[in-house]
Symmetry: C2
Subunit: 151 residues, 2 copies
């Protein structure tokens, strides 16, 4: 599904491109409230911040929670260019995010459709509605280009 | 195994007690480098910081990585009073922490021996050495007391 059908994914892809320009793995995330207001938009900053937890998803969750002065983002939607890893998937569950849209699947590092499949366990107390494949072509192209340049 | 055999777990239990006094779920974590120097000691601060990712483990990892200006804590050991959740277990793997000591098991929320068993998947690139049950009696007692008072 092209990202054009989802303007928030277009914004997330712009964040991913900006991350690539900073030398970070190009993943971007946008958090939107129930009224369609963008609460936070970020790309990966693990290198810049020397922080292995500074994935785009964690950064937008932390930023929006601080703004809202709440640990819960119940009515919100997260748009992210790549399938979240197990760390981010768990944080999405903790934050009670209502809907998750993601672009490319990640067989090597994903934690939703692959690997530990975080939302599939009975101990997971909140599972968002999930829509995948939005903007996956652009997302995958960005990641391929980035990792090709590293080799 | 009593916490007295591991002075770092005693310190982690003190952090858990301090978290309880702040009204936070009583879990504490201590990160130690290869020479036995304490790099960071923290308890949960999810309520105080309005941050669902502010588990004790994440806080010490972020603090130590910032100090070291590195995403990797390769020679380090993490001592935590409760089995880490899937978010924290994944962060432990990303940070390449060498050894993990934990106290009580957590069948309801743990991500190592229970639930998604983060380190058991082929997509997990780093698995620490793991020792469990250190200080579990004190850790469990703290958690029981805390949750009993909430009811």
């Amino acid at each position: 599904m092209p990202a054009e059908t989802n303007p928030f994914m277009t914004l997330a892809l712009e964040q991913a491109q900006a991350a690539a320009r900073r030398g970070e793995v190009p993943v971007g995330a946008v958090l939107v409230d129930g009224k369609g207001t963008v609460l936070a938009a970020q790309g990966n900053r693990t290198i810049e911040l020397s922080d292995p937890t500074a994935h785009a998803e964690i950064l937008v969750i932390r930023q929006a929670c601080e703004q809202q002065q709440s640990q819960r983002l119940s009515g919100c939607a997260l748009h992210v260019t790549l399938e979240p890893c197990p760390m981010c998937a768990t944080a999405i569950s903790f934050a009670r995010i209502h809907t998750l849209y993601y672009g490319a699947s990640d067989p090597k590092g994903g934690g939703i459709a692959y690997g530990p499949r975080i939302f599939s366990h009975s101990t997971c107390h909140h599972r968002p509605d999930i829509y995948e494949g939005i903007g996956e072509t652009q997302s995958s192209a960005l990641l391929r280009k980035f990792f090709k340049a590293l080799r």
